[in-house]
């Protein structure tokens, strides 16, 4: 049996996942970071992006917003704003968000609005990307 560690993914709205995982791949500002059992203790702030989780030999992918991971050798805690499996993603909503964000970027508002629109856009794009990757959705 492969080495596993306790993985918890928690969002303000729910406990997304609590399981023994073999590997977790998250998106850090400077690239993707893979975490397996026995990883050196680390705190990683992550960006909007796909999260890949290896559970029982199977890779699964989810769409996550920005968050951070606290890693200890036998435990990883991923606190994130939102996290969704492909089947939970509302494709129409993601598309609408993408368009709204693009529109907001075109409007050239304040810096604050720009940042909000940017993060909204990247969240929408991650969702759409995860949907495309998931089987049965080509």
């Amino acid at each position: 049996m492969a080495n596993t560690f306790r993985l918890q993914i928690i969002t303000p709205e729910r406990v997304f996942l609590e399981a023994d995982a073999e590997m977790l791949v998250v998106k850090a500002p400077d690239g993707e970071i893979g975490i397996a059992a026995g990883h050196t203790p680390m705190i990683i702030s992550t960006q909007e992006g796909e999260v890949r989780i290896k559970l029982g030999g199977q890779w699964r992918e989810a769409a996550a917003a920005d968050g951070f991971v606290t890693v200890t050798p036998d435990h990883a805690l991923f606190l994130v704003q939102t996290c969704e499996w492909p089947e939970e993603i509302d494709e129409n909503r993601a598309r609408r968000d993408e368009e709204r964000a693009l529109e907001a970027l075109r409007q050239q508002g304040s810096m604050h609005e720009y940042i909000m629109a940017k993060s909204m856009l990247s969240r929408a794009m991650v969702r759409l990307r995860v949907l495309r990757h998931s089987p049965g959705n080509d």
Partner: protein, 290 residues
């Protein structure tokens, strides 16, 4: 004694009102359960993020570089007041607004900015001549993560641009299903003692590596912590409002029942009196014919 038709009319009116209060009671209880679930699901997140915050604060020097921990002279305060969009919920709105007034007065800052959630809060401050600087629409009726996120990021942005020195959130906390207590929580700046009662994350202090850096980790952590707090306050306030409405509507329904009982008795008495009088008249009429 009022006439029979008048009493009948009143009975009808009370019955109609009772129907409305009864329906509002049922709606409020369903909504409250939904809000409680939201709050419960948020609890693990809040607990975990507080533990992480405490860990980073205690084990790194990142705090010194973060503006969120800076102690500025406290001259300009922001109060985020959460109340309901409508009344019909007992003393819920009055109590939280009274606390807001008392807090603002007690702090006595040079410049006070009020942000409001809920129409009742807005109109309260507008009436006092201190019109809210920002009013968030639709949040009181539908607390969700997206709006909490927007509110928090806006606050953080304004804080970083040095537009205010400290921020408080004033909302109603639901301690048990029937105990509501208005509370004030400081959002910014963040103080070390906020985390004094949080149990530490790890038994022993592990040497942590930070990606990309301690400062960046803390900078990402603070807004998330605040979003969690704001979201939880919105959910709590919503649950409290519904709970207060439930109690108020339950009381009104019971009062209506009582009133109906009284009116029914009165109606029967009036009916009997009318019959008796009619009989007397008939008998008197018959007597005079004989």
């Amino acid at each position: 004694m009022s006439s029979i038709s008048e009493i009948r009319h009143r009975i009808k009116a009370v019955e109609d009102t009772r129907k409305i209060t009864r329906a509002m009671f049922l709606i409020a209880s369903a909504k409250m359960q939904k809000a409680m679930k939201m709050h419960e699901r948020n609890l693990p997140y809040l607990r975990r993020i507080s533990q992480d915050m405490r860990y980073i604060i205690e084990n790194t020097g990142a705090r010194a570089h973060s503006p969120y921990f800076a102690h500025r002279p406290l001259n300009r305060a922001v109060y985020l007041v959460i109340a309901g969009d409508k009344g019909m919920c007992g003393a819920y709105n009055e109590e939280v607004l009274r606390l807001a007034d008392a807090t603002i007065q007690a702090d006595g800052r040079e410049r006070v900015s009020v942000f409001t959630i809920g129409l009742m809060a807005y109109s309260h401050f507008a009436r006092l001549g201190m019109a809210p600087d920002i009013h968030y629409l639709h949040v009181a009726q539908n607390p969700n993560l997206q709006s909490s996120r927007e509110i928090t990021l806006e606050l953080c942005d304004m804080y970083n641009r040095n537009l205010f020195d400290d921020a408080y959130i004033i909302f109603t906390n639901m301690l048990a299903s029937r105990t509501l207590r208005p509370e004030v929580i400081r959002l910014l700046p963040i103080l070390e003692e906020d985390f004094a009662d949080v149990e530490p994350l790890h038994g022993r202090a592990l040497e942590m590596e930070y990606v990309p850096s301690e400062e960046a980790a803390l900078a990402a952590l603070v807004p998330q912590h605040l979003i969690g707090l704001v979201y939880s306050a919105c959910a709590q306030a919503y649950a409290s409002e519904q709970s207060a409405r439930m109690m108020a509507m339950d009381a009104s329904t019971r009062n209506a029942d009582e009133m109906l009982l009284k009116l029914n008795t009165e109606h029967n008495r009036a009916r009997q009196a009318a019959i008796t009088q009619e009989l007397t008249e008939i008998i008197a009429g018959a007597n005079s014919v004989l």
